[in-house]
């Protein structure tokens, strides 16, 4: 029991590294280098090495962009909501969620760079940026989100970095000393960190919502059939949170298994997040159904060309694959508690992640293949370059995530301890405060002063 309170297992990934880690890291590095080679060819010969053409000007890269930015809603948003709701079970999972966000945003932005014909001019978007363009809105919104979520990752890390500082030696000690910003764990420092977290958690939510709304507007602001839809903003945000929770569940299961954190990440976490994922399954279906029914009922010919391309035309495999992976599989697994186990939620999550990638693809490509005017119908076959770069992005993401776990605790140690030391009493007190008939059991007067109330409910 004493040993468990030391949380030694949470420090283990940082202090010990096995052979397995290096093997996996090497494999991922090899995939990343392969992608680098593919990109060098694309830089040398131009985007002609991809499967893109006229009129299918966008393909895998833009699909990946929307997908990665969607995944980024895993972290900061979910962690912020759980913190604000004072969900005690959040404590072991917030860090891993926040880290997904910060990392995956780079891959979202990176996908845009891959897609540019002139990546050397990418900064022109800032130098000559025109505020009319939804792409400029994207740049503003995503860079704000990246900044906010990096700070939101870093601040709760400070107390943990200080814990590490006192445990290691050599260059790592120096690194942690700088990063811990002189943290000594005084009450005043604790209060400051908690105030900062509370403020950031509130700020970050509207920013996160704006991010995927603006991503959807890249499409919705044009007048192209089945892109020009008012529902796209919320539809994309729902999809983003959906894929984000799924990515988080996969990360949780992997970390739990690899770092033997079964004592911290328990079936109840998978059950709770699994229920949240189930709610998102239904919400996602609701939006998708509304979108397609409106299109179908209106029967506008240019929209119907895109509609049928998805339902029964050349993109039917992607569309029905999306329905299978985003609706049927997760619904069947998550709708009951017998299959909403760790294995069950992970299978559902993998399915959702695949399905959401297919969803992004069926939004981007079929519209471009079926433009308004009857000439120049296109087809799109991605080349090995696009496949390689997509694989390289996934591999590099996982690699960087792994490396992060080797430098920083992937479970927030001080928050877990805080939960143990203070959370229990707080929850009890909180319940007492809103249930009648329990007020006097502690000997406190029923009409508590406003001061005591705000001390309890103020910044926590």
């Amino acid at each position: 029991m004493q040993d468990k309170r030391e949380d030694a297992v949470l420090f283990d990934p940082i202090l010990k590294t096995g052979k397995g880690f290096y093997l996996v890291a090497l494999l991922l590095l090899a995939i990343a280098l392969w992608g680098l080679y593919a990109y060098s060819l694309q830089l040398k010969y131009g985007l002609g090495v991809t499967g893109l053409n006229r009129p299918v000007f966008w393909g895998f890269y833009i699909t990946n962009f929307v997908f990665f930015i969607g995944i980024s809603h895993a972290g900061t948003l979910i962690s912020a909501i759980l913190r604000l709701c004072r969900a005690e079970w959040r404590r072991p999972i917030t860090r891993m969620a926040e880290m997904i966000t910060v990392l995956v945003l780079f891959f979202g932005l990176g996908s845009i760079i891959l897609d540019l014909g002139r990546p050397d001019r990418a900064l022109y978007v800032i130098f000559y940026g025109k505020i009319n363009s939804p792409l400029v809105w994207d740049v503003i919104s995503i860079s704000t989100y990246l900044t906010a979520s990096t700070i939101y990752l870093y601040i709760p890390l400070i107390p943990d970095i200080a814990l590490l500082r006192d445990r290691v030696t050599g260059w790592r000690k120096r690194l942690y000393r700088i990063l811990s910003l002189g943290w000594t764990g005084t009450e005043r420092q604790h209060r400051r960190v908690e105030i900062a977290i509370a403020i950031l958690a509130i700020i970050v939510i509207p920013i996160a919502v704006s991010v995927h709304t603006v991503v959807s507007w890249v499409f919705a602001m044009t007048i192209q059939p089945m892109w020009h839809s008012t529902i796209f903003g919320p539809y994309f945000v729902v999809g983003a949170i959906y894929s984000g929770i799924a990515a988080l569940l996969i990360a949780m299961a992997l970390i739990r298994r690899i770092y033997k954190l079964g004592d911290y990440i328990k079936p109840i976490h998978f059950n709770y997040l699994g229920m949240l994922l189930f709610v998102m399954t239904l919400l996602w279906f609701y939006f998708t159904f509304a979108e397609y029914l409106t299109t179908f009922y209106g029967g506008e010919p240019t929209e119907m060309a895109v509609f049928w391309a998805k339902i029964s035309g050349e993109y039917r495999i992607f569309f029905w694959g999306m329905v299978l992976f985003d609706l049927i599989i997760p619904f069947a697994i998550l709708c009951n508690r017998w299959t909403r186990t760790i294995t069950g939620t992970v299978i559902a999550s993998i399915s959702v992640v695949i399905g959401m990638w297919l969803e992004r693809f069926t939004i981007v490509v079929p519209t471009l293949v079926n433009p308004r005017l009857p000439w120049d119908r296109g087809l799109y076959f991605p080349t090995w370059i696009e496949w390689s770069l997509t694989a390289a992005f996934f591999a590099t993401f996982i690699l960087l995530y792994m490396i992060f776990t080797k430098f920083f605790p992937i479970v927030s140690i001080w928050e877990v301890r805080e939960g143990r030391e203070r959370g229990l009493a707080e929850v009890e007190e909180r319940i007492r405060s809103y249930l009648p008939g329990l007020e006097n059991t502690e000997g406190l007067p029923a009409d508590k002063s406003e001061e005591a109330e705000s001390a309890r409910w103020g910044v926590r």
Partner: protein, 232 residues
Amino acid sequence: MARWGMVIDLDRCTGCQACVVACKQENNVPFSTPEEAEYGRGISWIKLMTMIEGEYPEVKVRYVPMFCQHCDNPPSVKVCPTGATYKNPEGLVAQIYPRCIGCRYCANACPYQVKYFNWYEPRWPEEMKASLNPDVSVRPKGVVEKCTFCHHRLQKAREQAAVEGRELRGEGDYVPACVQSCPADAMSFGDLDDSKSDVSKLAKSTRAFRVLEDLGTEPKVVYLKEGEWHAG
């Protein structure tokens, strides 16, 4: 200031594609391979679109030369993140190649699909290289290009008028290469705001229509539908 526009009489168009060839020559449009063209990678600022209607023996072929419609309300200009595609004061939708980042957003937003991307470094057969037009810049790989209404000709015409000490005429001084080359006289070009010009008169014809005009893009290319010869 003039509002440059074009009228194309589809009754007169024979589908000879002289305009297509003239445009490629005039504007240094790079060559492509048959395979690349088949895959939708060919560049042709003006293309002759064909529509086959009916079945044998009651079959009819229609031709529509398609190129940048130089909209007064261009969807492509709205979305460009860097201002590389913009509407200049004379209403021409222009491209600044050195500012284009190659995101192809404009190409996706344009409902007429008249924007072209340089998938590769531009290529010409050796024998063609000597005939490149020195008035038109050669585009690098990775940028978007399209019909400019031969904007370089407008600049020349304006300088010529200045040398001669007169105003630029709304008609006759400046014509794009496609209009100049049309053997059937199907294309007219000039100032749509000049009530005496041919284009402004033709644009008022009962046969006049603009492609996808219900989208509110306000194109400055007007087509005259077939009618006089086919009588419906």
